[in-house]
Amino acid sequence: MRLSAYISGLGVLGPGLHSWPETAAVLTGQSVYRPAATVLQMPTILAAAERRRTGRVVKLALGVALEATAQAGDDPAHLASVFSSSGADGHNCHDLCQALSLPGREISPTRFANSVHNAAAGYWSIGTGSMAESNVLCAFDASFVAGILEAFTQVAVDRVPVLLVAYDSEYPPPLHAKRPIPDAFGVALVLTPQRRASSLARVDAELTDLKFDRMADPALEALRCAFPAARSLPMLGLLAARNAGRAIIEYLDVSRIEVQIEPCI
């Protein structure tokens, strides 16, 4: 069963990667990949009260979502969304677990409210004024493809544009040793049922048993392996090169997803 959508907006943030155009230049070999700590900006759409409460993972998710929606020319207030993350806010989670392990167990109500896996989606809705449906998923290392399947089925069945945001960020010690995500990486795609002026490519996706693709460049392959959302890199590579082609993306132990890319020239 094949699912189709147009990619009409893209956003990327990651170690040494500050935007989609910069990432595209790295993926096409126009510039050398130089890993460096991920730079996260305070989202401009949040009011002062929310800004004080947001952690890195919210900045990451909203950062890539804003880049993608600006490129697609969509008013985020009317866009359905799918947020998929392997683990939400690790620092917030650590602080809660730490507080709960101490006598008194005094925990911050703000930290608790921010501990929900859908905090980033909630702040996106508050910041953009969007009352559209928003789903929030987790499939551990398979979270990127879980998000792709959810967003593509929504485009196919409900015939609406969908914002997909896949993002992962680190846990501090001691959880870091158990879940060693090194930094923050996120990718956002605006998927539309119809071709638009901003459309980069048409994508057809289906489940497959074929072997998944790795990145030829060792530094980019290390990036792909380090973050669940970076499993998107083989697909992003085709989009960057504006080449027709096929990428096989790692999913669950029993399956992969094959994406066929047809650039909109």
Binding site: M1, L3, E50, R53, A77, S86, A88, C93, L96, C97, Q98, L100, R105, I107, S108, P109, F112, A113, N114, S115, V116, H117, N118, A119, A121, G122, S125, I126, G129, S130, M131, A132, E133, S134, N135, V136, L137, C138, A139, F140, A142, S143, A146, L149, E150, F152, T153, Q154, A156, V157, D158, P173, P174, L175, A177, K178, R179, L207, L252, V254
Partner: protein
């Protein structure tokens, strides 16, 4: 949307292990809430604890998943012939053609909370026996159920706080309708942990007494735990007239506040209207509404306004959380099962523990059970982050 058949269903909560016990408790208008004696928790509150969860052992090959949340999932899977029904569906459709969609808010985080007490005094390291992925991670319960049932289709955890397992029905619906799968194991599992007990307490949202939804003196929630599952398939030609169908799903966001509902319930209203539109039904087609009805002053006020704005003051509604407690990420699936039981048994369950209904709430809240034909039920679930989901179930014939 195209309706889906609720082929099989089961639920385990403090009001019953399996649907027969659950129905009996509802018919007798009893509550499963008790004074909190969970773990080492020292909070004056009532909880809906499932007895015997930690006596459950997972199969040898899945030991790495050992935690309270997966034990609760295992206990529930084995009730009402549900596991066998899933295996029958797998042999009919193929293991690749069945997906798993489970809602949870905290999964097995209790395991991490316990591990933090066992940190190495010098290095601060967590014990070597602690495994993050199969216990703490939100996906753990979906991964456990997927591997336990040997299903090989898409699998995902939906984690939208207290709307999680209602929204899981939406993910399953889209994937079946898109043709990617033929059947879905959908549901929700959330278990007691310190994060939610102390967390809701820190927000002053837990009641010291059993929760009293829609009561004039309501003062907060009682946290519960539950696992509830449904097996969804396309509606076959000639489905039995007493089959229960999922007719509509409506989702929305509040765009208001991370931990408080919109004061006029605008997001809730939008979700209910979207569910009615998806089912091509009018408000008068709904016989009973199973409310989100948490028992906090703000939730019940905004939900009542939203309900009345669509249904007026005459559609019977109640919250079953006075009986079950608020089972958080499992609430949507648990209340989907209760809605299904309501249709199959002609029962509108009265809200227990509620004494004097708040006269400022205009929705038609029922405190006593009503026995009448129930053809269609709307069930609400709302969560932190301002996420809303309404489901509509109805009899096939």
């Amino acid at each position: 949307m195209r309706p889906l058949l609720v082929k099989r269903f089961t639920a385990t909560s403090c009001i019953g292990t399996g649907v027969a016990a659950t129905l009996e408790t509802l018919l007798e208008q009893r509550s499963g809430l008790s004074n909190c004696e969970f773990e080492t928790v020292e909070i004056e509150t009532h909880i809906g604890e499932v007895a015997g969860v930690d006596d459950i052992r997972l199969p040898q090959s899945l030991q790495r998943f050992e935690c309270r949340n997966n034990r609760l999932a295992e206990l529930a899977l084995l009730q009402d012939g549900f596991f066998e029904a899933v295996q029958q569906a797998a042999s009919r459709w193929g293991r690749r053609r069945m997906g798993v969609f489970l809602g949870t808010s905290t999964a097995g985080i209790l395991q991490t909370e316990l591990a933090y007490r066992e940190r190495d005094p010098s290095s601060g390291a967590l014990p070597t026996s602690f495994e993050y992925g199969p216990t703490h991670n939100s996906f753990s319960v979906a991964d456990y159920v997927r591997q336990r049932c040997r299903l090989e289709g898409p699998a995902v955890a939906v984690s939208c706080a207290c709307a999680s397992s209602a929204k899981a029905f939406g993910s399953a619906r889209r994937m079946i309708e898109a043709g990617l799968i033929d059947a879905a194991l959908v549901g929700g599992v959330d278990s007691l942990c310190l994060t939610t007990l102390y967390g809701f307490h820190s927000l002053q949202l837990t009641s010291p007494s059993p929760c009293r939804p829609f009561d004039a003196a309501r003062d907060g929630i009682s946290i519960g735990e539950a696992a509830a599952f449904a097996l969804l398939e396309r509606v076959p030609d000639g489905a039995d007239s007493d089959s229960v169908l999922l007719l509509g799903i409506g989702e929305s966001s509040d765009a208001y506040h991370i931990s408080a509902p919109h004061p006029e319930g605008l997001g809730a209203r939008r979700a209910m209207q979207a569910a009615l539109a998806a089912a091509a039904l009018e408000p008068e087609d709904i016989d009973y509404i199973n409310l989100h009805g948490t028992g906090t002053p703000s939730n019940d006020r905004s939900e009542s306004q939203a309900v009345t704005s669509i249904f007026g003051p005459t559609t019977p509604c109640s919250s079953t959380k006075g009986a079950t407690g608020h089972t958080l990420g499992a609430a949507g699936a648990l209340e989907a099962v209760i809605s299904t039981l309501a249709i199959k048994n002609g029962l509108m369950p009265g809200g227990v523990h509620t004494r004097k209904i708040d006269p400022t709430l205009t929705a038609f809240y029922i405190k006593e059970n009503r026995r009448a034909s129930v053809a269609r039920v709307l069930s609400n679930s709302f969560g932190f982050g301002g996420t809303n989901c309404s489901l509509i179930f109805g009899r096939a014939g």
